[in-house]
């Protein structure tokens, strides 16, 4: 066991903090209020190599270890969770799926432009009647000549509105299958942008596939491997979202602690009141527990272990911590916490997404219960 960050990781972290403070923090409020996807930030992030954070240098990636990448997401989320989730979707869900399951040709074709930010990736799995029950998806992939014809509707597609590359899951004759669909392919239409409580800078859209012809060369993996590809991507994303939850929670503590040290009521800074101290202390206890859970999960990604159990644990706990910490920290700031002119209301709205996106907490509870019962020979269905 060694809990220290390597010198390289410490250097990366300093660099992330510097980038985020300079390039992300100043525009965060505007991104939220104007519901503007963080395109400027993505361009600058691409210049730093962040859009190909975990990709090998062969594909112009930064070849970061996953712990460093988790710290990148954590840092960005502290300033702007919309930016963190946009980048996480691109890297964890899409680029790493192509890296993990693509042929050399596919990797050479798509990964360099993804790393350069010329193509932003989105992940199209959810459908109106297939939310938690993703396997119930109805989007159809019918074999047709040298490829497939895709038909169906995908909802809640994060990055849908800004994507150049769509990772689409559809039912082919051999089972659920993943396809890489490029923007501008006839039959692919990006529709309604979801107006959301938080994460307002994430372009979450509906996607329509109508007679959308995709060459067989764009199939990722074999027919029927789609479910496995999606699961692995969602497990990586769960840990990445855990890092975002850690970032937003830690930042909420920092903002509220500053406020509590300055706000005077009853003749003293409110930080002198035990009620406020307890809010802060309970929050930091949770944040620290989450921090090591997240870093451990990220380390497991690099060990190429099966992530199913740990990803569920990280995501469920991160959602709970981000929610409870932003809730308490908003309370510390009283009326000021409730005003949109201060960052806390945004953090509170953003943090609530973690209980839902990437699969609701209830699904992670099922996964953990399945894990516990596996050794007892009890099979658990969701």
């Amino acid at each position: 066991m060694d809990f220290t960050l390597s010198e390289e990781q410490q250097m990366f972290r300093a660099m992330f903090r510097d980038f985020s403070a300079k390039e992300v923090a100043p525009g965060a409020e505007e991104i939220d209020h104007e519901e503007k996807p963080p395109l400027d930030v993505l361009r600058k992030a691409a210049n730093q190599g962040f859009l190909g954070a975990t990709l090998p240098e062969d594909y112009f990636g930064a070849e970061l270890d996953f712990v460093s990448y988790a710290m990148l997401i954590e840092t960005l989320a502290g300033d702007c969770m919309s930016t963190a989730v946009t980048l996480a979707t691109h890297v964890s869900l899409v680029a790493m799926s192509i890296l993990g399951h693509g042929t050399d040709t596919q990797k050479e074709e798509w990964l360099p432009p993804m790393a350069a930010g010329e193509m932003i990736g989105c992940f199209a799995l959810t459908e109106p009647d297939a939310g938690s029950d993703a396997m119930a998806l109805q989007t159809h992939a019918a074999p047709d000549g040298d490829g497939y014809v895709l038909d169906g509707v995908k909802t809640w597609v994060a990055n849908g509105g800004i994507a150049g590359l769509f990772l689409v899951f559809a039912a082919a004759p051999g089972g659920i299958t993943a396809f890489v669909v490029e923007k501008d392919v006839p039959g692919l239409t990006v529709g309604y942008r979801e107006p959301t409580l938080g994460l307002r800078g994430v372009a979450i859209n509906t996607l329509y596939l109508e007679d959308c012809h995709v060459p067989a060369a764009n199939r990722l993996g074999e027919e029927g491997e789609g479910w496995d590809i999606a699961q692995r991507a969602l497990d990586r994303m769960a840990i990445t979202l855990g890092a975002a939850g850690l970032g937003v929670a830690q930042a909420a503590v920092d903002v509220a602690a500053q406020f509590a040290s300055e706000r005077v009521q009853f003749g003293v800074p409110i930080a002198k009141k035990q009620a406020i101290q307890n809010h802060l202390a309970d929050s930091l206890i949770e944040v620290e527990a989450l921090r090591y859970l997240v870093y451990h999960g990220a380390w497991l990604v690099d060990q190429e272990s099966d992530l199913t159990f740990d990803a569920a644990v990280v995501k469920a706990f991160a959602a709970r911590v981000a929610r409870s910490v932003t809730n308490r920290m908003l309370q510390v700031m009283g009326g000021y916490g409730y005003m949109e002119d201060y960052p806390m209301a945004r953090k509170y709205r953003d943090a609530r997404a973690l209980g839902i996106i990437g699969g609701p907490t209830e699904l992670q509870q099922v996964t953990v219960a399945q894990w516990i019962m596996a050794s007892k020979d009890v099979e658990i269905a969701p």
Binding site: T126, D129, G131, S132, D133, A136, T155, W156, E194, P195, T196, L197, G198, V264, Q265, F266, G267, K273, A275, I276, R323, L330, Q331, G334, G335, G337, Y338, M339, E340, D341, A345, Y348, R349, R352, A353, G355, I356, I357, P360, T361, E362, Q365, A381, P382
Partner: protein
């Protein structure tokens, strides 16, 4: 013991529910998006007597007492928290302060048009450096002959930007502090020097107005002193006690709505081949939520009964506000979770309810202040005096 509502209260609930569903529900999303106060709704409420629901008929009210007022707030809170907030600020603290401490002349002159809804009221206390520590206000009132001259700036005033009649707390004797040095004044809008400052951009209750109010040499006749000079602190504590109870009632409505919509969605939404209602995770959520809603309901109407029968209720009113706001927040959080993505979308009411509900843990005294009130009442009975 008798837990049944009187026939007139049952009729009142029917009236308000119908009004809320027909007149308020269709507007709730719009006023949130546009950030505007639904004056048209307030005018319609005035017409059917709801803006004076609790006051005696001789002062232009409906005479439904505190129980009737809680029924009103519960039903408004069930449909639109912004509108409940406007109404609560008008009746529960604005007009209420005059009802509790006004002279007969003040009641005729000010309470009557407020109760009839011809005029709208507000209660003005908070300042930038005096939030939870309300005794730290600095707005000054200096006597000048038969007038008082007010100077200061008040923040976070609900209804303040449009109210016709506001009750303002000011310091009349800085040497005495809160107890003895603070006085309440009735100030009419349009009085020279009384200006509206910046409007707050809030996360929720965006269909209510929260504004800064500026007093610059505002001259108020001595006859507009509410209660006795120097007794403002006692005056506002009494008023806020009433406001806390009815805020709890509005929270009850919000929690009730969350429960209803959750049950409906759990019945409708199918995943893994069955309605969510068949999943124990969801069943437990509903069971816990329903239990809390029922506990809150009993608390709210028990305290309303204490008020209507003239019994002490301060500690229990603080519990109504604190527990009510936390029950409502929990219930709406769970409703959002049950609805998944749709709960997080601004196209559905839960998202708005989630933003709206959060204010109740903060305004009308933060829940930390409520806990101080409750604890100090308990410890006082044991001979221990606690300070905030």
């Amino acid at each position: 013991m008798d837990f049944t509502f009187a026939p007139e209260h049952i009729a009142l609930r029917r009236l308000v529910r119908e009004f809320a569903e027909n007149e308020m529900a269709p507007l709730a999303m719009e006023i949130d998006r546009e950030g505007r106060v639904p004056f048209e709704t307030l005018r319609k409420m005035a017409k059917i007597g709801l803006l004076g629901v609790c006051f005696p008929q001789k002062y232009g009210g409906m005479g439904a007492g505190e129980t009737g007022y809680c029924i009103l707030m519960e039903e408004l809170g069930r449909v639109c928290t912004s509108t409940a907030t406007n109404v609560g600020a008008h009746i529960g603290i604005g007009a209420m302060s005059i009802y509790l401490d006004g002279t007969e002349e003040q009641k005729q002159k000010y309470l009557m048009p407020l109760a009839r809804g011809e005029k709208l009221g507000a209660f003005v206390l908070t300042e930038a450096d005096a939030g939870s520590d309300a005794a730290a206000i600095r707005t000054r009132a200096v006597r000048d002959g038969n007038e008082w001259v007010l100077n200061g700036t008040k923040t976070f005033n609900t209804n303040g930007s449009f109210a016709d009649v506001v009750t303002v707390m000011a310091v009349t004797d800085p040497t005495l502090g809160a107890r003895g040095g603070m006085t309440a004044f009735i100030v009419e809008a349009g009085t020279p020097g009384f200006k509206v400052g910046t409007h707050e951009n809030k996360m929720g209750i965006r269909g209510s107005s929260t504004a800064e109010l500026i007093f610059e040499d505002v001259r108020v006749p001595h006859e507009n002193v509410l209660g006795k000079v120097g007794e403002g602190f006692i005056s506002f504590m009494k008023t806020l006690d009433m406001g806390r109870l009815t805020l709890g009632a509005a929270c009850l409505g919000g929690a009730q709505a969350a429960l209803e919509t959750s049950v409906h969605w759990a019945k409708t939404r199918k995943q893994f081949g069955v309605a969510l209602a068949h999943k124990q995770s969801v069943q437990w959520m509903i069971a816990d939520m329903a239990t809390e809603v029922e506990a809150l309901r009993s608390l709210v109407y028990r305290v309303a009964w204490l008020v209507d029968t003239g019994q002490p209720f301060t500690q229990l009113a603080a519990m109504c506000k604190m527990y009510g706001s936390e029950v409502a927040s929990r219930a709406i959080d769970v409703a959002l979770q049950i609805h998944g993505g749709l709960g997080y979308s601004r196209d559905f009411p839960i998202e708005r309810n989630f933003r709206d509900a959060r204010i109740s843990e903060i305004f009308e005294g933060t829940n930390e202040i409520q806990r101080i009130v409750i604890a100090s009442n308990i410890f006082r009975q044991h001979g221990v005096r606690i300070r905030p």
